[in-house]
């Protein structure tokens, strides 16, 4: 890894941690103390591999490979592993666009076997808004909803769908 790349990785990791600290404060103050937002680490990636055994899973990608490649390519990335006690309930990964004016959520997946009352997008959204704030990005984009139900969910969340590019957005 080149020095400039390493410096960027360290600098943006501090920002990512600052955002997740704020999310954890909010979870604590909202009486959702069983939840914890963390950076994606090996423990989270190992847990995510068990999602493959779920009949409810709708995608069949591997987070471990995807994360490592994405991490190397994008030191400015957004990332979050959301935990409910000792159970990983979601992983999310995104990045600012090349000019930094928008923050994309490239990949998100909820634990397919999480209970229905556990919501993972709301805190992912809050963390993205926090991260966008620090980067000066004025728009969030959620890329490629996997089906019509997920697309409708985002629309109900206040995001607008753009057919060309297959994404949803909200201006900040």
């Amino acid at each position: 890894m080149q020095a400039a790349h390493r410096d960027a990785e360290e600098r943006y990791t501090k920002i990512r941690k600052a955002v997740l600290d704020e999310i954890n404060k909010d979870l604590f103050n909202s009486n959702q103390r069983n939840f914890k937002a963390k950076l994606i680490d090996q423990t989270a990636l190992v847990q995510s591999e068990y999602w493959d055994y779920s009949a409810k899973r709708r995608v069949n990608w591997g987070w471990t490979e995807g994360y490592h490649i994405f991490k190397y390519r994008h030191p400015k990335r957004f990332e979050m592993a959301l935990w409910h006690n000792a159970t990983l309930v979601s992983l999310s990964l995104g990045r600012p666009t090349y000019r930094g004016s928008k923050l994309r959520l490239d990949f998100i997946e909820g634990n397919p076997d999480k209970s229905e009352d556990i919501k993972v997008f709301e805190y992912t959204f809050l963390a993205m808004v926090g991260y966008a704030q620090t980067l000066g990005a004025g728009e969030l984009r959620v890329m490629h909803p996997i089906n019509a139900d997920v697309k409708r969910y985002y629309e109900n969340f206040g995001l607008s769908y753009v057919t060309k590019g297959d994404y949803l957005y909200v201006r900040l």
Binding site: E22, Y153, G158
Partner: protein, 69 residues
């Protein structure tokens, strides 16, 4: 309705950039404004096309980012 929900902070242009905490507060207000606090997430909730990314990351990013225009 759409105008209301497409922009979380309509006062942003009049304000200096705030803290992460302030941004999170505004985002929570947005969620309340659109009544999304108790939305049920679809089963198998996920977004993205990681398979395409893994097959050819350069191609995935080349084709998907309008910021290169």
């Amino acid at each position: 309705m759409n105008d209301k929900i497409k922009q979380i902070n309509q006062q942003r242009s009049k304000k200096k950039p705030g803290s992460i905490e302030d941004a999170i507060k505004r985002a929570k207000q947005h969620i309340r404004n659109v009544d999304a606090e108790n939305l049920e997430e679809p089963e198998g909730f996920a977004s993205g096309d990681m398979k395409k990314f893994l097959e050819d990351s350069d191609e995935y990013e080349k084709g998907e980012d309008d910021e290169r225009e």
